[in-house]
Symmetry: C2
Subunit: 139 residues, 2 copies
């Protein structure tokens, strides 16, 4: 078995605010408020929200306070889907850091910044397959 990214956890300042934000983008979770963490099933893995200081301690690192070299992306099936998703993110309160546009590598993408400053690339990559379920498959 090859290794996997099984879980991505992003640290947030206000769990309820962030849950509301990600649910407005279409994510669904069965986590309860008293769990103190929110888990979203994301294809073959799990995407989670947790308090940033709790995550920092549990990750055995120092927090430099801003972006730290990890960016998440959601790949969609067309430039029009990218634009629609960015619009939904803006309506949910995200800052649109870059509107949808063609990229140097032959795709189309834009960037939104979530309530805690985490950037998300919303992309259409014509060289990758996105299945009906949303799985992304490399060529």
């Amino acid at each position: 078995m090859e290794p996997r990214v099984s879980l991505i956890t992003i640290g947030v300042a206000d769990l309820e605010r962030s849950r509301t934000f990600y649910e407005a983008l279409g994510w669904r979770s069965t986590s309860k408020p008293e769990d103190g963490v929110v888990f979203f099933q994301s294809g073959s893995m799990v995407f989670a929200l947790w308090g940033r200081e709790e995550l920092r301690k549990d990750s055995e690192v120092e927090d430099s306070g801003g972006w730290g070299g990890v960016t998440l992306a959601c790949n969609l099936r067309s430039p029009a889907e990218v634009d629609a998703f960015l619009e939904r993110a803006a309506q949910a309160g995200a800052r649109i850091a870059r509107t949808g546009a063609e990229t140097f590598w032959g795709g189309y993408n834009g960037i939104f910044i979530d309530p805690d400053g985490h950037p998300w690339e919303i992309a259409h990559n014509p060289f990758w397959t996105v299945t009906d379920e949303g799985d992304v498959v490399l060529p």
Copy 2:
């Protein structure tokens, strides 16, 4: 279709060094050196390595230089698998920030730090299903 994390990109200082590190952990990529980026298929999504400054610019953020609130995890099927994976990471040059131990939430995990300072939780969570292929499924 629910949104997905389709792609996680981590910024690295030396692409070849990082590729060698992750390949020593068992990842496989068909990316070519001249691509300037390394893509690994990871279940339904893609895990990528890219130059940290290129990723920063493309993500429309400032770089605070250290950890920035995102932690990745690889879930395995038993505490023994966790210990074996941490041992493999150590042999590949990772720093073991926390050796395998029981957690407050009833699981077992440890933390290694990759060559660029990115933490990875290696975990066994008895409440989640890990399929034969490595997919993680929430209850």
